[in-house]
Symmetry: C2
Subunit: 235 residues, 2 copies
């Protein structure tokens, strides 16, 4: 049975980390909301009879099982898609890396929404300017340096165990998003962090990823997603 991914149909957002794993594995999946519309998702999220509802999207339907939280979805999918090693310690470490990527993603989101998700960016621009300045000055270098260290210690080509894992795909997406949102800062940081830059390139060149990125299934970055290019935030 095909996996069913439920996520907002007009942004990459957190759903993209799941899409990349499904695409790299050549998995049979349906991006449900893009085909059937948002009500198909809200019916599940707002169903009062559902005993284990996700708090938010993205969520994955795998037969009768529904899994929310991006990192938990990948924890579940990793072994099934062959995107994580067999060793339990490798699996836990892969997940730990994924959770750290999730932390950066949340911070990237808050550069344009530091006050409230219920307000627009325009309603929190002064706060966003301060938060984005700190994110560029401190957080992008701190986080990407940690990934550089992990890659270097693992031999450079992959984050975990000398083989492709969903964490590699997610790090590609994180770097891709940062290059979109904060191109000057990220490019400058990547000139120093050559292993991270190389992993970003090598994932992009994987045949299935290349095909996916060129397909209409890959939504473009835009200013409704998590990674947004507001030039005034990268002063």
């Amino acid at each position: 049975m095909a996996y069913e991914l439920y996520y907002w149909p007009t942004i990459q957002g957190r759903g993209e980390f799941v899409r990349l794993a499904l695409e790299e594995a050549g998995a049979d999946y349906v991006d449900v909301v893009r085909e059937a519309g948002v009500p198909a998702m809200m019916r599940i999220l707002e169903d009062p009879d559902r005993p284990r509802p996700p708090f938010a999207c993205p969520f994955l339907k795998d037969g009768d099982l529904i899994v929310g939280q991006t990192a938990a979805i990948l924890l579940h999918l990793g072994p099934k898609l062959g995107l994580v090693g067999e060793d339990p310690d490798d699996r836990l470490w892969t997940h730990q890396i994924q959770l750290t990527i999730a932390d950066v993603v949340a911070e990237a989101h808050d550069t344009h929404h530091p006050v409230a998700v219920s307000l627009t960016y325009e309603e929190q621009k002064p706060e966003a300017a301060r938060r984005a300045a700190d994110f560029c000055r401190n957080r992008i270098p701190e986080y990407l340096s940690w990934f550089e260290h992990v890659l270097s210690r693992a031999g450079g080509a992959h984050l975990v165990g000398g083989r492709l894992s969903y964490a590699d795909l997610s790090l590609f997406q994180l770097v891709d998003g940062l290059l979109y949102a904060f191109p000057k800062t990220t490019a400058a940081v990547l000139r120093e962090l050559t292993q991270v830059a190389r992993l970003h390139d090598s994932v992009r060149q994987r045949p299935r990823i290349t095909a996916y990125l060129a397909s209409p299934r890959r939504l473009p970055f835009n200013e409704q997603g998590i990674f947004r290019r507001y030039p005034e935030l990268e002063a």
Copy 2:
């Protein structure tokens, strides 16, 4: 061999979710930094030869394995401490709840640090006031209502599978922290959400938790931690 927990020695913070699990299980553990000081932690975090360094604390040393990220630590400890069911779907669901708790904790932190962790609260007070107002008005009710729904659908006493799990302990800690930081808001919300209020009470009354909370091992809440009481933030 005793588990070794590494976390800041003067705050509950994210370490507290791990401490509660270890205490409830009666596990043999050392709160290393409280005994040996911060350098014992920094030696591990800053060791350039360590192939799998945590990005930040808390982290747990279990023999040769080091695990960072609070939710990943509990994913690892849950089965070993008997604080999660045997069923794989129950385990994934417990973890999914834990990740949602982690999201609330991050948002609670950002009520006093909406701009940058590298700045003091005093350097971001206007931004904090706006963020905290939204957190109290929207986010506390949204999140706690979701936990209420999950508890109600699971029969009320526990979040998952009719038995105690680390997610119950973590929800206790989340509610305890919110009651400290935003007492009026949280008390008002809990008057409606009786299952969440009851779970908070019942965890507190578990013998090992009661003993722990009365011991010097339980640090008091304070204004260096994640949950801080700044009355001006709860207008």
